[in-house]
């Protein structure tokens, strides 16, 4: 956007006015535009895309408000009393603390940034990021409902998700300074109003949420799930295929158990891989994390999370299911 920012502009027609005028033109010309875009596949993509954005936005807004509240009201002293000083212990405590955030992935990203700003060790904050969408009460209840009577699945999901988060947290700790995490510089906090900070966090994460939603909608529209059936019978390939499906489909962690339960041709272990990978890492989260913490960080973090999640889920499936 650097070019746009420096582009010469008329005194009466600034950037904001151009955006407003284009929006107005589309509203006026909506009937004409609708005919031009009249293709079934494209309309289906549009519905999926808007659905993901509409579903995620309230959670993202809750996340940025919570993040701004953490910055404003949670003192570093209070955080230090809650989370152990020693980062090796702080990682599992942060993972278990994820039980307390009944939101989805989108809320966790800005909250993690807020916790880091308050001085939480980055390994502990990233553990929280991985655990919060997977082990909160809403997810536990929906998993129990979707897999009625199969309590082993609920325990396996919560356990494997927590273990994944903690293992990745310790890995971050071991990487130490070599894990390059870009934090954007913030204005002096006393200069930034509460709403200003929340708005800025929203603008920052929202664009990357939209990129993730575009990709997830394309996968859900254009790739039929039946291509998965070819490998359903094979134990390992089936599990890897559902892990990949969880990454690209980017479903909300509150609803993915229902989709997993409907994949009846797959083994329970493969379904568990789907349930553990999805909340920890998917295309939407990868996009938001690369926006929040830098591309270089995401290039390292995303594959590590995927590998750890798949291995942990396979082990849990072998032990518990």
């Amino acid at each position: 956007m650097a070019q746009l920012d420096t582009a010469p502009r008329g005194r009466w027609l600034g950037q904001a006015e151009v955006v407003a005028l284009v929006a107005l033109a589309v509203v006026i010309g909506q009937h004409w535009v609708r005919e031009a875009l009249d293709a079934e596949a494209l309309r289906t993509w549009c519905t999926m895309f808007v659905a993901v954005v509409v579903q995620s936005t309230p959670f993202l807004v809750a996340g940025v408000l919570l993040s701004a509240s953490i910055s404003r009201f949670l003192s570093e002293g209070a955080l230090r009393r809650l989370i152990p000083e020693n980062p090796v212990l702080a990682v599992p405590v942060a993972g278990i603390a994820g039980v307390g955030l009944p939101g989805c992935e989108c809320a966790a990203v800005p909250v993690t940034d807020g916790l880091m700003r308050r001085g939480l060790h980055q390994a502990a904050a990233l553990t929280f990021l991985l655990a919060a969408p997977a082990v909160n009460p809403a997810v536990i209840v929906s998993t129990a409902v979707a897999f009625r009577g199969n309590h082993a699945m609920v325990f396996a999901r919560v356990g494997a998700s927590l273990v994944t988060a903690i293992l990745v947290g310790w890995w971050c700790l071991a990487r130490g300074d070599r894990l390059r995490l870009e934090r954007r510089a913030r204005m002096h906090e006393h200069e930034e109003t509460f709403l200003g900070a929340a708005l800025h966090d929203f603008l920052y994460a929202g664009g990357f949420l939209v990129i993730g939603a575009m990709a997830a909608a394309a996968i859900n529209t254009f790739v039929p799930p039946r291509i998965l059936d070819a490998v359903a019978g094979h134990a390992l390939l089936g599990a890897l295929a559902l892990g990949a499906f969880a990454f690209v489909a980017a479903l909300c962690s509150e609803s993915d158990a229902f989709v997993a339960a409907s994949l009846t041709s797959f083994s329970d272990s493969a379904k568990l891989v789907f349930l553990v990978v999805g909340p920890a890492m998917d295309i939407k989260l990868a996009s938001m994390e690369s926006g929040q913490f830098g591309i270089g960080f995401a290039r390292e973090f995303v594959p590590v999370v995927l590998v750890v999640a798949v291995l942990t889920a396979l082990t849990a499936g072998w032990l518990l299911l």
Binding site: M1, D5, G14, Q15, A16, V19, A23, V26, G29, Q30, V33, R34, T44, C46, T47, M48, F49, V50, A51, V52, V54, Q55, T57, P58, V61, L65, A146, R148, M187, T193, L195, G196, A198, L199, H200, F202, L203, Y204, G206, G207, F208, V210, M214, A216, T221, P224, P225, R226, D229, A250, L251, C252, S255, D256, F258, V259, A261, S262, T264, G291
Partner: protein
């Protein structure tokens, strides 16, 4: 992106959320309980955006280029007005077996009298049970859904079930026999009789022999 543009972009997104919630169009995308969260979110975003949008403040802090993409959902909602998901998705996902309904009270169908109204999910659930616990055999049933087709010229009474948003839609369908196919995506009410024994295997939908097919207007909430 200038502070003023940031405000305008967020205000437009807020307006879309409020519009979807007020017009009921949100039901094409998410579950009914999302109405109030969407309204509140829209209002919170408006409060956050109003000062920068009017040029009364806000920070000129840089935002990434991706922020421009927040305009995309706004433009799509106004320009495309995305319709509810329908036959296109149902046909592409048709190989996916329907889910076992989460909590299903057993409705016993009473014989005699007029036709019995049944939800499509109740029908497929009843057909999948081993010894016809619902007593579907021989009863005249009435089920609603939209029309989808297959490559062999058959047609299906179809519903999409969503659990969170439209992206996780799962297909439930009944194959209809004995009546020519209405246009795809047309909502219909089919009166007919279950072909006893079909639908036990979750991979193939149950079948129904239709005696009457009536067109319906699309419902407000397109997902069941």
């Amino acid at each position: 992106m200038s502070a003023k543009t940031q405000g305008v972009v967020v205000a437009l997104l807020a307006a879309v959320l409020v519009r979807l919630a007020l017009t009921g169009e949100y039901l094409r995308f998410v579950l009914p309980w999302m109405r109030w969260p969407l309204l509140i979110t829209g209002l919170v975003l408006l409060v956050m955006a109003i000062r920068p949008a009017l040029g009364l403040g806000g920070s000129a802090e840089r935002v990434p280029w991706a922020t421009w993409l927040l305009l995309l959902p706004v433009l799509i909602v106004f320009a495309v007005a995305p319709p509810p998901l329908g036959a296109y998705l149902a046909e592409r996902r048709s190989a996916q077996p329907p889910p076992r309904p989460a909590s299903q009270s057993v409705v016993r169908v009473h014989h005699g009298g007029g036709p019995v109204d049944l939800g499509l999910d109740e029908f497929t659930w009843g057909a999948a049970q081993p010894d016809d616990v619902m007593g579907l055999t021989g009863a005249t049933l009435r089920v609603e859904g939209f029309v989808s087709t297959d490559h062999q010229g058959g047609w299906y009474l179809t519903r999409l079930v969503i659990f969170c948003c439209a992206a996780d839609a799962v297909v439930e369908r009944i194959k209809i026999l004995g009546h020519p196919a209405p246009p795809r995506d047309q909502w219909v009410r089919v009166t007919g009789v279950w072909v006893a024994g079909t639908g036990a295997d979750p991979a193939t939908p149950p079948e129904m022999t239709a005696t009457q097919v009536v067109d319906l207007p699309p419902p407000k909430n397109p997902y069941g």
